[in-house]
């Protein structure tokens, strides 16, 4: 694979990763996101409904937590997880964990890392882990790593150091095993940057990992509440400064629009797309505008809409929803009674299947009656909206308008 940077502006990298995939002819734009999946399928969506969405990313994220327990099946299947899940044309990245469901801490040892599936804990040594990846045959996979340095309130330097040491050891072991396997050589290992909140350890992790022949880097441990990311952003810049320019930088656990922009400005290329899924699960639809160069008429309409929604949302922003996550100002809650007779689309001008075919009133009805179709339609809209957001980031970078886009997103707060 080859990463070509078109330009770097204010720390943001705009470019293309080429020569991807088994046949080496696929490519991916950066900054970009990966399609979020659960058990190998986009949430709520079949192949048919997934492909109705415009702008689906070229690479999907699979999680080892949902697949590890099926490795015997996949080993017997022989043809790789892409074909098994019915996505043979997609590029695949296999992360350790599901960003939406954090796993219990305290199970990383010097020799193994654990993931949690439906059937319980799956413990993996380097060799078991590589055997699983051999059965999965993804294009990229996150190397096993010790991500628990940031689990507690204050990271001790000792714990941070241990996370870096362990992760490097895991990496070296896995690289060695990769050398011994023809199948595994076709996949790229993504090295994981650890080190908690200790600058020294983070830099050490970055420098040491960069020395290894990895395909790219995963910035782990920067996720958490919005407050914690803010304090870690400075650290993030220092870390990415140590990484080679020509390899992609992924980050896990960061998916909210404002956080995405902050991370892009600090040298991150690829993100997970679980945020639209979380929005879907709380019965909400993404409505935030990323149209940083609207026509004057649209601006007026948007402003009026935005003002109203901001005003309303301020009052309800703190309300917890069933997903245990607070609703953000990027979305509307279709369960609210005010949408009962609203026959407009979720977002005016949106070209997604839901907005082209259905109304807020209908989605409201589906939510109130607990019908499965609510999740399907919301997921289709939320993914399309989110992928559109990333497209607008790239366009803004191309035309040097990122400041406008940032301002637009910032105003949502």
């Amino acid at each position: 694979m080859k990463l070509n940077l078109t330009k770097v502006v204010n720390g943001c990298r705009l470019g293309k990763i080429k020569n991807l995939g088994k046949t080496g002819d696929r490519s991916m734009d950066i900054p970009g996101c990966l399609l979020y999946t659960k058990a190998g399928s986009a949430p709520h969506l079949t192949h048919h409904t997934l492909h109705k969405i415009h702008g689906v990313p070229a690479m999907a994220q699979l999680t080892l937590s949902s697949l590890a327990e099926h490795h015997e099946v996949l080993a017997e299947y022989k043809e790789g997880v892409g074909k098994f899940i019915g996505m043979p044309e997609s590029l695949l990245y296999c992360s350790l964990h599901d960003p939406v469901s954090p796993c219990p801490a305290g199970y990383v040892t010097n020799k193994s890392v654990s993931v949690w599936g439906v059937g319980g804990r799956v413990e993996m040594t380097a060799s078991k882990f590589m055997a699983i990846q051999q059965a999965l045959q993804p294009d990229w996979f996150q190397c096993i790593s010790d991500g628990e340095a940031t689990c507690n309130e204050a990271t001790s330097i000792k714990r941070a150091r241990k996370s870096v040491d362990r992760t490097l050891l895991f990496l070296d072991n896995c690289l060695k095993l990769q050398e011994e396997s023809e199948v595994l050589k076709k996949s790229s290992i993504i090295g994981v940057i650890e080190g908690g909140d200790v600058t020294e350890e983070r830099l050490r992790s970055a420098r040491e990992t960069a020395k290894r022949p990895v395909g790219g880097f995963l910035l782990d441990g920067f996720q958490g509440s919005p407050a914690t990311l803010e304090t870690r952003l400075h650290l993030l810049s220092s870390v990415t400064a140590e990484l080679p320019e020509d390899k992609p930088r992924l980050i896990c656990g960061v998916s909210r629009p404002d956080e995405v922009l902050e991370c892009i400005e600090r040298g991150v290329d690829l993100f997970e797309s679980f945020f639209p899924y979380q929005v879907t699960e709380r019965g909400c639809a993404l409505t935030f505008s990323f149209d940083y160069q609207p026509n004057p008429e649209e601006t007026l309409l948007q402003q009026n809409g935005t003002q109203e929604e901001i005003k309303y949302v301020d009052q309800t922003k703190k309300s917890k929803t069933s997903c245990n996550q607070e609703m953000t100002s990027y979305e509307i809650n279709l369960k609210e009674k005010k949408y009962q007779e609203d026959f407009s689309p979720l977002v005016r001008g949106c070209s997604c299947y839901c907005c082209k075919n259905h109304t807020r009133a209908y989605v409201h009805h589906l939510l109130v009656t607990n019908e499965l179709l609510a999740g399907v339609l919301l997921m289709m809209h939320n993914f399309e909206h989110y992928f559109g957001f990333f497209h607008s980031i790239r366009e803004a970078l191309k035309s040097d308008r990122l400041a406008q886009l940032k301002e637009l997103i910032r105003r949502m707060f």
């Binding site: 058990a39 709520h44 299947y353 009656t369 179709l373």
Partner: protein, 403 residues
Amino acid sequence: MAAAASQTSLESAPRIMRLVAECSRSRARAGELRLPHGPVATPVFMPVGTQATMKGITAEQLDALGCRICLGNTYHLGLRPGPELIQKAQGLHGFMNWPHNLLTDSGGFQMVSLVSLSEVTEEGVRFRSPYDGDETLLSPERSVEIQNALGSDIIMQLDDVVSSTVTGPRVEEAMYRSIRWLDRCIAAHRRPDKQNLFAIIQGGLDADLRATCLEEMTKRDVPGFAIGGLSGGESKGEFWRMVALSTSRLPKDKPRYLMGVGYATDLVVCVALGCDMFDCVFPTRTARFGSALVPTGNLQLKKKQYEKDFRAIDPECDCPTCQKHSRAFLHTLLHSDNTAALHHLTIHNIAYQLRLMSAVRASIVEKRFPAFVRDFMSTMYGDPTLCPTWATEALASVGITLG
């Protein structure tokens, strides 16, 4: 028995059904319904989308499967979101954005299914809402009023439904009341040009009561007849005899809709007995429990035996699920909390039902229906002696012998 039955219907009700072919042995017919939202080939299986949605599949997916008519439910929609809202949304078609035909049940069945929440009088059925405790009266007039607002292509009379396991005077009371309610529905119907009101034959498992109901209701000028009050807990032996009695006395030139029938075997047998239209929640409901319908029965895909089964559900099936996915993958997905698993099976099961009806129809048109039935039974049961007795008897009664 057949001779007395085939009186053509009276008066000038538009004939919405055109007969294309009839089996020379059995009572099976192939036809075409001409409905406001397009033609529908019969025999037809109508999937049930109770609350203005076919569960997890989109209107577009349902259309792509070839479905041209499906069901909505007046009781549920009457409560949520309510007829006024649906009317504002351009009727149920507009509300759910379904371009083809819709049939709405009257709410009568809920009398049985929600019996603890309902009370029947001559006026109508009084329901206590499970959502807010409010009481609603569903009268024949109110049911038709709601269905007029919904705008469905076929609407059903409100009938007094008793469970098929009930015996005694209640059955007779319900039968006569259903006739009176039919007349009230006809009188209340404000859109006979746009919506086809079907009568529903009651009478439980009593041949005399049923015969009386048939005689009376066929005097009314309705575009179609449903056979109701069956498909509950009755024995299959009684079930088929009531169906056969009903079809023998219903006019040939109007569609016969057998309500609540959906198992493959039942569909095939009841087509042989002369039914044209069917509905049932079974295929879509069983999908959501991980069960896939196949010509030999069903596959409980959550079971361990499918863990490494890399074949499609049915190699002969051309539905999107079978085109792309293996039993093993679906097994994995069913054990996760991703609802996509349910949608894959819903699509397959609807495809299975529609394809079965298509095949039945083709065999009638091509004059080989009895052979089709024999093939179907042998695939499903193996040896003819393993075919359920009631089915063998029912088929024999219309001249089809197995093995």
